[in-house]
Symmetry: C2
Subunit: 355 residues, 2 copies
DNA sequence: GCCTATCTTGTTAACGGTAACATTTCTTTT
DNA sequence: AAAAGAAATGTTACCGTTAACAAGATAGGC
């Protein structure tokens, strides 16, 4: 099926080693020999086997990329960013869709190890992903977490400042008059949920508003989760006047619930969330959101991973916290505009923590 | 770094072959020996190298998947479908984002060959992708085209009935009173553009309407393309009253141009397109579209590819044409609803062509 | 022309598994 | 208890490429 160095060697009347030399730059090969070999390569349509090379060199040129949902535009953009950086560095990307399922995630991680990827980029399911990642830790295989940290797992991480983001979002709601603000978040074992909820709590506290437990609903961060949670909120006697959804998909589900009830955003209830949906923003610039520099999640994490692989970075774990910005649109009744989220003491768009 | 069969063998006091037997089911291994080996495997955290196995077995367990734009929700859904089917069959997916660039596509195809994927799923850039795919043809490596065919390249293909879809869409526009209908399509070397334009022409002809060349704009099928084309249309003295965009991204760009001009859809101009944008439809059920069974593009093409790989399918090329449905919403001023697109002479949701 | 330095090419072994065959170790049978 | 058959385990070689070393060819120096 596929020609090998030996086939080429025979055809060119040289040894396999000479063929190998030619296809690797041909240093120390007589020009005439090289031409003979090159002709044989062309004639046989020879492409050296990455598999065999990988076995020799222990370099597969493959990176793993695990995301919970490739259809979520947030992750799609992350994937594009990572893919671009990986390709330019000569790496391929093995894509895995964990569906937010710990078992599937585990399976993927093991498969990545069997496939001998040189590193892994992963937006983990949550804190309980830790055992899933231990095989990588034990093997000292490089990996970088994206978006979510994993409790008790110190490693490279690219995330946004969820606390500040949520605080800004809630502050905004408060500033336009809301006092009863619901929150739809994931369970506490997801770092972004924890942090965004902390931002929510801090904002309420700073404004002297009480935290009502019934206004915090924990569910899955997908459309169904948002849908169900909003249905609950709408069933309350004392409805919240505004709802903060932990991410874009959750917000979409929440929107759906509002619409099905014959109600409207922001007239009947305000809605804000993390993560813009670019396509959506074009057609209907509507949701007030915290917009994270999504593509940078992908490009930066890939760059960090590549540095680990090449050994350019050997120091302590890198923890990159990206800036997010508040995009004010109509979904809470305020006038539209962009307010950059500036945290005191930060000058660049990102910074690194670490000893 | 990683333990090998030999390390395990030494530790268990057996030969490498016995280790190999154990990790492959352990038939013909004494229970006690097997336990010793299993213990050594656990202690050394041994995971057999897929690379070495691939070299022996000539099976890498990897499939290539090339799409023009992973961020386009249409392709994201295709990817999810393909990934799910591939995973269940024990295959990994190498994801490539061709960015609609022939050179990049070429590079990816070559890389897939070097990596010895067992098959390729590809939504090709267009007819000019043919030379890019010839290496696969020459090697008799299985591949399946998704969404777009490639002129002069008879091979497995999963697509929707673009002609009928476009016809239905245009018929609908005509039925609600439009007579000057613009079309934004890609150049003629993209099969979907050709076919959708043919549907457009057929519908006009059937209604006795003239085809005005200035009402057909050829551009790239992305947001920028749609944006620029719509700007042109809006600049005409005799504007079209409705516009047909070749896909969702083009339609989004067109919408953007309309909005920036201070105009509105459908009040000032109607807009229809191929491909729903699910997220968008939830938040604002607005665009009248032809909805393709997107995920099936991914699942079906992956299944066909797997059948080719396993040799279950050896016959002539399979050409699956999926049914699409018209979803009527507000973007052309008609009342909302779903009208299934039924073509006479077709009973199932898909059919296979072939000699 | 002979010897050495340099250049070019070839040989061997190894990467980590496993197929195919060989050998050793039980069983079982008579 | 010896022979024969079955079961368990080991040996060798190979998948396709290349590192390391070996050897042959060529050229330069005197």
């Amino acid at each position: 099926m596929n020609a090998t160095v030996h086939d080429v060697a025979k055809r060119a009347g040289v040894s396999a080693m000479t063929v190998s030399r030619v296809i690797n730059g041909g240093v120390g090969v007589r020009p005439e020999t090289r031409r003979r070999v090159e002709r044989a390569v062309t004639e046989l349509d020879f492409v050296p086997s990455g598999v065999a090379r990988g076995l020799m060199s222990k370099r597969t040129g493959a990176l793993g990329l695990i995301v919970p949902d490739i259809v979520n535009p947030f992750f799609a953009i992350v994937v594009r960013g990572a893919e671009t950086v990986a390709r330019r560095a000569g790496y391929r990307l093995l894509l895995c869709n964990s569906e937010g399922d710990l078992g599937l995630e585990r399976q993927y991680v093991e498969d990545m190890i069997a496939h001998r990827v040189e590193g892994l980029l992963i937006a983990p399911v949550g804190d309980r992903s830790k055992p899933n990642l231990m095989p990588f830790v034990r093997r000292k295989f490089p990996f970088v977490l994206i978006d979510r940290s994993v409790a008790g797992l110190p490693c490279d991480l690219v995330q946004a400042d969820s606390v500040a983001g949520a605080r800004t979002l809630i502050n905004h709601l408060i500033s336009v008059g809301h006092r009863r603000i619901g929150a739809i978040v994931e369970p506490d074992n997801v770092s972004t949920a924890r942090e965004r909820l902390r931002g929510y709590a801090e904002a309420l506290k700073a404004a002297g508003l009480p935290m009502a437990p019934e206004l915090i609903i924990r569910t899955t961060a997908d459309r169904m989760g948002g849908y169900g949670a909003m249905q609950q909120f709408l069933g309350f006697d004392a409805r919240p006047t505004a709802v903060f959804a932990v991410n874009n998909m959750t917000a979409l589900g929440a929107m759906q619930a509002v619409r099905e009830r014959g109600l409207a955003v922001p007239k009947d209830i305000a809605l804000v969330c993390f993560d813009d949906v670019e396509h959506l923003a074009v057609l209907s610039p509507f949701l007030t959101v915290i917009n994270q520099p999504t593509e940078m999640f992908g490009t930066l994490s890939a760059e960090i991973l590549l540095h680990r692989i090449t050994g350019e970075a050997t120091g302590p774990r890198r923890h990159v916290v990206l800036q997010a910005e508040l995009i004010v649109r109509e979904s809470c009744g305020a006038r539209a505009g962009i307010v950059p989220l500036v945290d005191p003491g930060r000058k660049t768009n990102h910074r690194s923590k670490g000893p």
